[in-house]
C-alpha cells in the first residue's frame, strides 16, 4: 500500500552536492513532490517535500537519509502557524487553496491549521494581518 509522508530536510553545506532527490526516486521508488527548496548564500539547503511510495521503501529512504548529515523533520516546517498570534479573524481562509487554514470550530469561529493539507504555497503569509503565518523559506 502506498503512503505519503511530508518531510522537511535541512542539508549542511557538505551535503548539498549529493544527488539526494535522485536517489530517493531511483533507489527507493518514491514519487517526490517538492513544495519548497532553498539554498542559502552559505550554501546550506532546505527542502520541503512529500514522498509517496511503499511504506517499507519510505522507511528505507529515511534510513538512507539518516546516514547523511541531513536533519530530517517529519511534517510541516515550511509553514508555521503561530496559534498564540492568530486572532481568528479568518482573513487567510479565502487565500488558502487547500483548506489547511479553516474554521475548526464553527460555533466559536476558531481557526485551526491542518498541517497535512498545507502545500506551502505561502498565500496565507501576506494575507494574515497579525503575522501568525511565517515560513522558514
Amino acid at each position: 500500500m502506498s503512503v505519503t509522508k511530508k518531510l522537511y530536510l535541512y542539508f549542511p553545506k557538505s551535503e548539498t552536492e549529493k544527488p539526494i532527490v535522485y536517489k530517493l526516486v531511483k533507489d527507493f521508488d518514491l514519487v517526490i513532490n517538492i513544495f519548497r527548496a532553498k539554498v542559502t548564500p552559505e550554501e546550506e539547503g532546505y527542502l520541503s517535500l512529500d514522498v509517496t511510495g511503499e511504506a517499507a521503501n519510505i522507511e528505507r529512504a529515511l534510513a538512507y537519509l539518516s546516514t547523511l548529515e541531513v536533519n530530517i523533520h517529519a511534517g510541516n516546517k515550511g509553514l508555521h502557524w503561530d496559534k498564540e498570534r492568530c486572532a481568528h479573524c479568518g482573513a487567510c481562509v479565502v487565500h488558502c487553496p487547500t483548506g489547511a487554514l479553516a474554521f475548526a470550530d464553527q460555533a466559536r469561529r476558531q481557526l485551526g491549521f491542518t498541517e497535512d493539507l498545507c502545500v506551502e504555497c505561502h498565500a496565507c503569509i501576506p494575507a494574515c494581518p497579525f503575522g501568525a503565518c511565517t515560513s522558514s523559506f
Binding site: A87, H88, C89, A91, V93, P126, G131
Partner: protein, 397 residues
Amino acid sequence: MSKTYQSINEKIAAGKAVVLTAEEVIDYVERKGVAAAAQEVDVVTTATFGPMCSSGCFLNFGHSKPKMRITEAWINDVQAYCGIAAVDVYLGATQLRHNDPANMYHPGEFRYGGGHVIEDLVAGKKVQLFALSYGTDDYPRREIRTMVGLDDLNQAIMVNPRNCYQNYNVAVNLSDKRIYTYMGILKARMRSMTYCSAGQLSPLLNDPLYQTIGLGTSVWLAGAQGLVYAQGTQHASLVERSENGVPMEGAGTLALSGDMKKMLPDFVRGVSFKGYGVSLALGVGIPIPILNAEILKRTAVRDSEIYATVVDYAEDYPQKTGNTLGRFTYAELRSGEVELLGKKVPVTSMSSYNKALTICELLKAEIQAGRFLLSEPSQPLPAAQGMRGLQCVEPQR
C-alpha cells in the same frame, strides 16, 4: 416594570445581576419571550475585535535630568506627535516606522508601526525612545536615547477618536488585478469578499438607536475600564436602516479612552496590511443595561437580521461614486460563500468573532463578580447626523 441604572448597579454590587452575552440573549428571548426576559435580564454584554485605525495613545515619559522639552520623538523608530507639553507625546496606530519604504516597491509589507509599538508596550516590552529638542533656558537638554517600558511611564492613556463602527462595508474587487486594502488582499474579478463586523455581538448593532450607549458610558477597552468620551469621528447616524432600526452601512462610531497600564495584551494587537499600511486591532466590550423590554428586544438581534452593503474597492470606493453592489446578512456572509452578480464568491472576515465572543464572556464575568458597574451617559450620541465630504477649492491668496 422598568429598571434604572442605579437599581441594576445595586444588583451588580450585590452579586445578583443576571448577565447574558449578546449571543446567549438571542435564545433566551426566544425561549422566554421579550416581556418575561426583560424582567429577568439586567445586562447584555456586547463586544467587537478588529482593526481600528483611528486609535492611539498619549504617553508621558517623566522628566530627564537635565530637563528636555521634546519637539520630535520616535518610539522604536516610529514617530510620535510632540506638539503638546514637554514630555507628552501622542503615538498614532497607523504611523509607519522611520525608513519604511511604504509602497515604493508595491505592495509594501508594513511589518511594524504605531500599532505594533502599542502592542509591545501593553505586552510589557521595553521600547526605545529617541527624542530631539532645540533646547531652552528651562529645558536645556537637546537629545535623549533610552529604553522605557509601560511601568516606567507616568501615564499611558489610549485615546481613540473612532472605534466600534456600528456596521461596515463588505469589500470586493471588480477589477482585473488583485488590490491591497485595509480590508485585506482582495482577489481580482470578485474572487473574494471581506466583511468586518462582529455582527450580532457588536455593541452599536445591539443598541442601534443609541438608547443606552452615549457619552460617559463605561466600556471594557482591551481589559481596562474605559469610557466613551465623545461621538466618534465620522459618526453619521442618518443612514439607511432596516425595519429593526439597524443600519445597513457604517453609521455610528465611538471615541474611546482607557488606561493602557490595565490592558490585556491579547486584545491590543498591531496589524500589517500588505500594500496598505499598519494599524491596531483592539477588543472592546460594552455592557447594555436592560432598562426595558424594547432595549432587550434590540439586543436579541441576530446575524440573519443585520445587513451589510457590498462595495467595489477597485473603483467605487476610491472614486467615491456612491455605487453599491448588493446586500447580505451576516448569517449569509459567515456561511463562507454568497452569490453576487450571478457569481459564487468566497467570503472572509477581518473582524474576529472568536475574540469578540471571548470579550463578551470576560465582561460578563467581571460584571457578575461585581467589578464592573454601569454608568448612565451624560449626553446621548447624535441621533440624526449626516456626513460631510471635503470640497476641494482653490486656495485663497
